[in-house]
Symmetry: C2
Subunit: 516 residues, 2 copies
């Protein structure tokens, strides 16, 4: 790991704005959440075995298809699966779980170029990452529009500056002003230079996945990358039960380089899976298990994450819905299944269907983030910015969501049951009928006692009215603009950056612009 | 229980609007939630004993005061507590818990005048009740204003029509156009006539509590009331550690009549309790325990509910805050403590500090309701309508919150792990790479498969834009107005209503109007 990365310091204009404000805007010391409280255990062992058994039956009786990756089929065949026709893989009962249990790590470190920001993925750690993949962006003033590379850079900066987001994410929004076959190079470069948090690479083709890893070798050193996880790739299954050859090669490309694929069945109940939650759950577990097993067959011991993306559907309108009660039940169960299997779990974060960052968006988001956290999710993608079923990355929702992630840092700590926590001295001092405002215990603790949402207005109605009777979206708009104003990049070794720039130039010159 | 109460039928204008719409607006068949999933267990037994021990120490070493209720002091003295001076009660370690464990029921039925709407309180049941006690009301068109008796009646109607609220609540908003010493009579009459769901009575003085119970005797019959719980009274402790004589007499009045006091410490951390959550938790448990024990000393075996209202504070602004991460930790713990003690638990519901039903309100509310539900709350007060720290009852937020309560009906059912749930026939039918839209399994299940928020817009951006680009508040405004339009009162025996009206007239004539 390069050691020249100094901690970020305030400087230039930011310093003139006052030290306090700049300090408050810099990332918190804790690079990820360590949960001191247990996850929620909804199902008993017998019920968990039932789900595992049905997942096994799906893999054997129905089978998965790998369409166009002969190597992957041969790996499965060698492992004991039955290959049928050109693409069908029937996995004997229990085999996929055996392969995964044998070699997949239950937790691993994803290293950041700034070692202080490396994250632990798995066990009792939780990592929050921004939303991923939206073609559109929006803000309160300009409305909804196609995302650009400038938007992409802005969101990387905002994620870097948030003390509550631990990860820079991946395709934080689509830079639609760049050609599809080259934009991954600019996206990676933005993550590597504008932030020093860990990040994700391209998954749209195996060649772009290879580019992503190659750029990591330039940033971290090739020998380092072979031994340490420095990049994740978020791979969607073509649910139901198909892994196309490109996705399969992307999984193998990450695994071969000892990097971590995030294996994500993408299931809208009633379309890519059954309408009943138990069925969607068993399918999701089966598909993710199949992908992680493939990664282990490619390179035993390489890191991987069990993902899930389960959404319900409005059966009146045929549209995907979020914040509904079915996905939380699946989250709780799959958290338990992931722990039994011994692999890290990815869940979705602040998901919503709303077109605006209104109360619909917030109810829906909280009803996704709460169960994800309680399920023991280790890697929470889409933790900030997601709007309109993932079609839009919203500047205002980004900073609003990030603060909600902040609150879970406190919940994760649990109750502090020590003498100071129980405050017997305060009760003795204050006694019945008085108040604790000036007590020694309050004076000793008040600065760190309570989490305070910066974007929440708790003033009196009169004061709030005098100040313009603003809603939270107005305050969020002020906040993200102030943050981008105050942004200062983390330092980066010039030689490494030049090698990245040279690589990008060479790759871009090697092919014509294409929009697929 | 009177048996003449027929199930509510659509009629009059509502019928002309179309049967389907009216049917959809009528209360669901299930009168309360039965949780098939376990509550969240955050603390281990040793930690729970630590909290109990500190609560015991508070009751013994610091003591509670009962200010101005000699009978209550004598009850405690006879039970073995030490009375010091005119008001201090020191309770020997373990005594309060012994008293409660000896006779308080772990669950009970609160009977409604329509037996189909009676609720179970305790165990694995959860009951949602509207917000309580706001002096102001607001709606999107008229803004914020003092509440009136007309507003009160409107909210009783809306709670009656919601399939997701099981309870009519109590002081659903303050009817500030009526004299303080008489308004409880009109409030009770509204609950009794405009709804047939269970309700709460007055707690502002012991005489008004007695009026509330007397009206129940007229509605249900005196002998019935002595044997069955038909009314709750929500009593706040004057935290820290004081029970004023009026509150103490109100608790005893409900208990003596075999009705259920809800015993609620009201603690803003840093003001009425310490700033550390463990201390606030131990205090809350001690105070609630003390009140339930008093109810048991008054009438052993009478029903009671262990309440808690713990809020954090913005230490920048000195204002109470909601949706913050500290109260959830207290909720989880007090849920476990209530189960160990063997009494039903009350938690707050959709609490928030926001002045508007915006994303702040929704994030904060969901971050109160989620932990309340996961904690295993049996009676969730403030489940709908609460705005601005409880100062405002909002028409729009009322219907928005009620729908959120709806989702928890599905979560409570848990995963259905049967053959239909696992849908193996669907996987066999559909196979890899196809879709489930027309499968036999989907056809069989789609009507009941997913919870669909009526107030959420899941349409395409284009359709939503064409329809006016409305936020959820606009849709909520349409909804509550349509509901009030369609409202039809449940039937009520005329003779009983006349006896209620006569009682109210007599009581009103017996005293001058007063505003305290």
């Amino acid at each position: 790991m390069p050691s020249e990365e100094a901690p970020t310091r305030p400087r230039g204009r930011a310093r003139r704005d006052g030290r306090h404000r700049v300090r408050a805007m810099h990332p918190a010391a804790t690079p990820f959440i360590t949960r001191a409280i247990p996850p929620y255990e909804m199902l008993d062992d017998e019920q968990l075995v039932q789900v595992e058994t049905h997942a096994d039956r799906i893999l054997q009786e129905v089978g998965m298809e790998i369409r166009g990756d002969e190597t992957a089929l041969r790996l499965w065949e060698a492992a004991g699966a039955e290959i049928e026709g050109a693409s069908k893989v029937r996995v004997p009962i229990g085999l996929a779980r055996q392969i995964v249990k044998r070699s997949a790590p239950s937790e691993f470190i994803q290293h950041a170029r700034n070692p202080a920001r490396s994250v632990r993925i798995g066990g009792n750690a939780t990592v929050f990452a921004p939303a991923y993949g939206s073609p559109f962006v929006s803000d309160a003033e300009s409305g909804r529009r196609y995302g650009t590379m400038e938007d992409f850079r802005n969101f990387v900066k905002l994620a870097y500056m948030s003390p509550w987001l631990h990860h820079s994410g991946g395709t934080i929004c689509e830079p639609t002003d760049l050609p599809v076959n080259k934009r991954h190079l600019d996206m990676l470069h933005a993550h590597m230079t504008l932030s020093d948090k860990p990040f994700m690479g391209s998954v749209t083709t195996a060649a772009r996945a290879a580019d992503s890893i190659e750029m990591c070798r330039l940033l971290f050193g090739a020998a380092y990358v072979d031994k340490h996880c420095v990049i994740l790739g978020n791979v969607n299954v073509n649910s139901p039960l198909v892994l196309d050859g490109e996705a399969s090669r992307v999984i193998r490309t990450y695994a071969a380089a000892n990097q971590a694929p995030v294996c994500v069945p993408f299931i809208l109940g009633g379309a890519m899976g059954p309408v009943t939650t138990a069925g969607g759950l068993a399918q999701c577990f089966a598909e993710a298990l199949f992908c992680i097993a493939l990664a282990q067959l490619e390179r035993p011991g390489s890191p991987a994450i069990l993902g899930n993306f389960l959404s319900s559907m409005s059966l009146k309108r045929g549209a995907p819905t979020f914040g509904t009660p079915e996905p939380p039940l699946a989250y709780f169960a799959i958290g338990q299944l992931a722990r039994r299997l011994g692999v890290p779990l990815r869940c979705g974060g602040n998901l919503c269907a709303s077109k605006l960052p209104d109360a619909q968006a917030a109810y829906e988001s909280a009803s996704s983030l709460w169960p994800a956290f309680m399920a023991g999710a280790n890697f929470v993608l889409h933790a900030a910015g997601w709007l309109e079923g993932g079609l839009v990355m919203s500047y205002e929702k980004f900073v609003m969501d990030a603060e909600q992630c902040g609150a879970f840092h406190v919940i994760a700590r649990g109750l502090i049951l020590d003498d100071n926590g129980f405050a017997m001295d305060a009760f003795q001092e204050v006694g019945p009928g008085s108040h604790f405002l000036g007590s020694a215990h309050t004076m000793r603790n008040y600065e760190t006692a309570f989490f305070d949402f910066e974007l929440s207005d708790n003033n009196s109605f009169e004061q709030w009215s005098q100040e313009g009777a603003r809603d939270i979206v107005w305050r969020a708009n002020q906040k993200w603009k102030a943050q981008l104003e105050a942004y200062q990049p983390p330092s980066l070794d010039e030689a490494r950056n030049e090698s990245l720039i040279a690589y990008i130039a060479e790759r871009k010159a090697s092919m014509p612009d294409m929009n697929y």
